[in-house]
């Protein structure tokens, strides 16, 4: 894990949240994720392959996720996690990662991105992930978004 991998995501998330959810965000203290600890209840998982590979995961509490999707839909009320809500969260992860990929390419790490996978469960533990992850917490009016970044240089 290198800090150069992380900065494009921080910049991208801030811009994208403003543009598509009209939401200002403030970066909290970066930390390493406890390898065995759970992720937040709602996670949009994006696979990354290229000069660096691994996964980037956008984690939210359930209410935070609904609040953000409501903003993405111009204030429409979001009551349950239907296909549209899940799709919106996946697309948020997709757009942030896509924009970050431009920054990564400029830093010398071109990548490709998989379509998003949405996971919703309490106490999610994803055992296939062995790559150490940096957690970037973003504080917003809707709640906290944790961006888990697990990337390593491809051999």
């Amino acid at each position: 894990m290198k800090v150069e991998y992380v900065n494009p995501f921080i910049e991208s998330a801030s811009l994208v949240l403003e543009e598509i959810a009209n939401l200002k965000s403030e970066r909290g203290q970066l930390k390493m994720k406890d390898l065995n600890g759970p992720f937040r209840d709602v996670c949009a998982i994006l696979g990354v392959i290229g000069q660096v590979s691994g996964q980037v995961i956008y984690g939210f509490d359930e209410q935070t996720a609904k609040n953000i999707v409501s903003r993405m839909m111009m204030g429409a009320e979001v009551i349950e996690f239907d296909e549209m809500t899940r799709s919106a969260l996946g697309e948020l992860g997709n757009i942030i990662t896509g924009k970050a990929s431009v920054g990564l390419e400029e830093a010398g790490y071109p990548i490709e991105i998989s379509p998003p996978t949405l996971v919703m469960a309490t106490n999610v533990r994803i055992s296939s992930l062995k790559i150490p992850m940096i957690v970037v917490p973003l504080d917003t009016e809707c709640g906290v978004i944790d961006i888990y970044i697990g990337l390593q240089e491809s051999s």
């Binding site: 598509i20 549209m84 919106a88 996946g90 697309e91 757009i95 990929s101 071109p110 379509p115």
Partner: protein, 120 residues
């Protein structure tokens, strides 16, 4: 008679957003497709005037679908609409026959401008 647009994106949210922007811009919706393979079938079935094409999709991505659609109809008007704005992607899309490349997140005006340019 408004120009008909085929919307291709794996995200229901994005298809709904684009549908709203496109109809407000005075265009009609020819149909929707959820991945590259679906896009090719719908292209043949709905004969749209313009196609908006996402890139990152399961089963077949948008760049591959673009190439196949252009093989079916050399004058097909395909506008890429993707989160991945890396230069290499944009260049490959244009070289493969895309008329324009819109990077997400987009302003509605950008989409309408691209559609109007493609409609000619």
């Amino acid at each position: 008679m408004g120009k008909k647009v085929l919307i291709v994106d794996d995200a229901a949210f994005m298809r709904a957003t684009l549908k709203d922007v496109i109809t407000k811009g005075g265009f009609e919706i020819a149909g929707e497709a959820v991945n590259g393979k679906d896009a090719i079938e719908k292209f043949k079935a709905c004969t749209p005037d313009i196609v908006t094409m996402d890139i990152t999709m399961p089963e077949m991505d948008g760049l591959e679908a673009l190439k196949q659609i252009v093989k079916i109809n050399g004058s097909a008007k395909v506008i890429m609409c993707s989160a991945i704005g890396q230069q290499a992607n944009v260049l490959e899309a244009i070289k493969s026959g895309a008329k324009d490349f819109i990077v997400k997140p987009f302003q509605p005006e950008r989409v309408i401008e691209a559609l109007q340019k493609a409609a000619g």
